[in-house]
């Protein structure tokens, strides 16, 4: 879909990008990452000809980008930057409508699209369409930047640190939102970031660059388990196993959970799982109410005597969580297993520390 062929960029005597070649398939997210000055932003900006390559060619959908007028090329590519660059004198709606207006869409179509996009990025159109950029928070502005990039429904999206200028909490939420949007829209995305965790979380493939050269171009798993050289190994960091966990959803690792209802007898509790330390307590709809320690059974006459109550938010993880979150919860609460619930709080199963260990086995071997 996007192919770079021997692309080089020289600024005077400095070589910013050195004979770069790689390909991004349709619907994939490719993240460019590397130390400062490695040429990742320059590479990104050559794709939409904000910077012209000194030599080499770039193809989008088989077409050489240098054959088209830059303005026409850019109108078919979504562009979102770190400082967002919303037009301060235009409303949110008019900002988003920028490229459609350049393409002469009619007013009705534009209005519908603006509403659609605001909903897509999780903002209420009635509230936000008429706001001005200075009235927005950082996170809201970045979301609108993305909405604006998507406005004309381009097949290619270029993003330069799009989630960079906000606090970590908002950043994480934006990443989640982006992942969800990407799942829905399946755009071809090239993103530049300096945050490896972000790259690992969002990328289908990661291109690690150093001094203008491509060092390794692989899936995140491959990068984590089989780094190509010492540089990549060091770059990826010594906590590779933990990094892997953020990519693994928990559902595949969830096992059957031992559970009883409130009116279960002690014998039933005893019987439900002979080797388990804990048993989960649920109601008739299988909603999680709490847990109990099997060691307390002898002294108890009913479940309500020994139940340790807890809401699903307090003691469980949702089925949408990653293994990393599950591990963090377990460590934080000093548990070896943790229940998994759905949005309603209905018990789905449990996951144990051992399960996580097995998932990451083999990650931390030296190259």
């Amino acid at each position: 879909m996007i192919r770079l062929e021997n692309v080089t960029k020289r600024f005077g005597d400095t070589i910013a990008v050195d004979n770069l070649s790689f390909e991004v398939n349709q619907g994939e997210v490719c993240v460019l990452i590397g130390p400062s000055g490695c040429g990742k932003t320059t590479t990104l900006r050559m794709i939409n000809r904000m910077t012209e390559p000194t030599s080499g060619r770039i193809f989008i959908n088989g077409k050489d980008t240098s054959t088209e007028k830059p303005e026409v090329l850019r109108r078919a590519i979504g562009y979102a930057i770190q400082s967002v660059g919303l037009f301060p004198h235009l409303t949110v709606a008019r900002n988003i409508a920028t490229v459609p207006e350049l393409l002469h869409w009619d007013e009705k179509r534009i209005a519908r699209r603006v509403e659609e996009l605001l909903l897509l990025v999780g903002l209420n159109p009635a509230q936000y369409a008429r706001k001005y950029p200075h009235q927005l928070s950082g996170g809201e502005a970045q979301r609108i930047g993305v909405a604006r990039a998507l406005a004309a429904d381009p097949s290619v999206l270029l993003m330069d640190e799009p989630f960079g200028a906000v606090d970590p909490l908002t950043r994480e939420r934006l990443q989640t939102q982006f992942a969800r949007i990407q799942q829905e829209l399946k755009k071809t995305v090239i993103m530049v970031t300096h945050d490896l965790d972000e790259a690992i979380r969002l990328a289908d493939r990661i291109a690690i660059m150093k001094s203008g050269r491509l060092v390794q171009y692989d899936t995140p798993e491959a990068l984590l388990t089989k780094p190509a050289n010492k540089f990549v190994h060091d770059f990826v960091g010594t906590d590779r196993a933990l990094k892997r966990l953020s990519r693994l959803p928990i559902m595949p690792y969830v096992r059957q959970a031992p559970s009883v209802t409130m009116n279960a007898t002690m014998d039933e509790v005893e019987a439900v799982c002979r080797h388990c330390q804990w048993v989960w307590v649920v109601n008739d709809q299988k909603r999680l109410l709490g847990w109990l320690d099997r060691g307390s059974i002898p002294s108890a006459s009913s479940v309500s005597d020994v139940i340790v109550r807890g809401t699903p938010e307090e003691i469980a993880v949702t089925g949408k969580a990653t293994l990393r979150e599950a591990l963090s919860r377990m460590l934080g609460q000093g548990l070896r297993s943790i229940p998994v619930v759905d949005e309603m709080g209905i018990l789905l199963g449990e996951i144990t520390l051992r399960d996580i260990e097995m998932a990451t086995a083999g990650t931390d071997t030296a190259p």
Partner: protein, 393 residues
């Protein structure tokens, strides 16, 4: 009681103090002829005792109210009080002039003295302070701002003030005054229009081309420092030579003296504020915004028209505002090179040692400058895009 729990408004107090102080110098001057110096008359000699007492009383009221201006009701009362002082001053000045001139020769004149000018300045200050406190209610705010002025204009129009020397000067040459007033406005209008366009073009050039930046600013800065009369004079020689060599120019009205050098000089003076503000206005457009615009596929022209111009417009127009107000004042000197305008009266008055004729030229220039300022401020406000206006307090 009012003084306790006092939260004085310093602006209003300043105005009231000046007002009280203005009671001391002479309020009217009686002179045997328009060119003599005359004798200064104190407040009570000018307005007779009841008139003087009413002014004194009103100022004392204003003064005590200004200690407690925080209260909206009191602010309204203070504003009205100040307006009353201004109206009363003119009312009684008109009456007293008639009275004072009754026994004098036909050539005698009555002028406004330092006291009444100070009082008018003081009322302006107090009204300004009262306006601030009345921000919430536009009706009262406008009443306080304009009622006094409206009444004074009515007094003038109805002939009540006809015995005052400056009005006599006006009446003696009404037609010429109107002619020169229109001419003055024309000089300013034409030169600011051309200077504005030229300045904007130079400003854009300076932003786009690093090489152009230095010379453009150097030129505009240097020309600003040339004294106006000198510049007017310097232009006469080359323009004369030009108009002699190309007779067609003479036919068109471009000659060495008169309107042409005046307009050219005013254009040159208009350049710096406009060039500087255009430059600043364009430079302050955030680079991220321009980068985003470019990245989305806007052409250079589209970025300029849709992004840079609307964002730079308020600042650029502020520059034009400066140039306009400046030109109104500078155009006064145009009379010296045959271009007419309100300065004509100033120089006539100087030549004849008739101070009120000088004022007949100077006062309208000040008023024109204020009006031009108000108009330009409104234009700037209208040109400020909504999203940007929200940011500045």
């Amino acid at each position: 009681m009012i003084f306790l729990r006092a939260k004085p408004d310093s602006v209003a107090i300043t105005g009231a103090v000046i007002g009280l102080w203005s009671l001391l110098p002479g309020w009217l001057t009686l002179k045997p002829s328009r060119i003599a110096t005359g004798t200064s008359l104190s407040l009570w000699d000018s307005f007779t005792l009841p008139g003087a007492l009413s002014i004194i009383f009103l100022w004392l009221v204003c003064f005590s109210f200004s200690f407690r201006l925080k209260n909206e009701r009191l602010a309204l009362l203070t504003g009205i009080c100040a307006n009353l002082i201004a109206i009363a001053s003119f009312l009684m000045a008109g009456l007293s002039a008639e009275r004072l001139l009754a026994g004098e020769e036909a050539t005698a004149r009555v002028s406004l003295g330092a006291g009444i000018w100070l009082t008018l300045i003081a009322t302006y200050i107090v009204i300004f302070a009262a306006r601030q406190k009345l921000g919430q209610s536009p009706l009262w705010k406008n009443l306080v701002s304009w009622s006094g002025l409206a009444v004074i204009i009515f007094l003038f129009a109805s002939g009540w003030l006809n015995e005052l020397s400056i009005v006599r000067e006006f009446l003696d040459r009404e037609a010429r005054f109107m002619q020169e007033l229109v001419h003055h406005v024309m000089l300013v209008g034409v030169s600011v229009s051309i200077g504005g366009v030229l300045g904007i073009m130079l400003g854009i050039w300076a932003t786009r081309s690093g090489a152009a930046e230095k010379p453009v600013f150097f030129f505009s800065n240097i020309t600003q420092t040339i004294p106006s009369l000198a510049l007017f004079g310097l232009l006469i020689a080359p323009l004369s030579i030009l108009s002699f060599t190309f007779p067609t120019l003479r036919e068109l009205g471009i000659r060495g003296v008169g309107d042409t050098p005046a307009i050219i000089a005013l254009i040159i003076y208009s350049l710096l504020p406009v060039v500087r503000n255009t430059y600043v206005g364009l430079k302050q457009v955030p680079p991220a915004v321009i980068d985003a615009g470019r990245g989305m596929g806007m052409s250079r022209g589209q970025i300029f028209r849709r992004v840079e111009m609307p964002l730079a417009a308020p600042i650029v127009l502020e520059g034009v505002r400066t140039a306009t107000v400046q030109s109104v004042g500078l155009a006064a000197v145009a009379a010296l090179i045959g271009a007419g305008g309100l300065g004509w009266f100033i120089f006539q008055g100087l030549g004849q040692a008739a101070s009120d004729l000088i004022l007949l030229g100077a006062l309208p220039i000040i008023i024109l400058a204020i009006i031009a300022d108000i108009i330009m401020r409104t234009i700037v406000r209208l040109a400020t895009p909504k999203g940007v206006a929200g940011e500045t307090p």
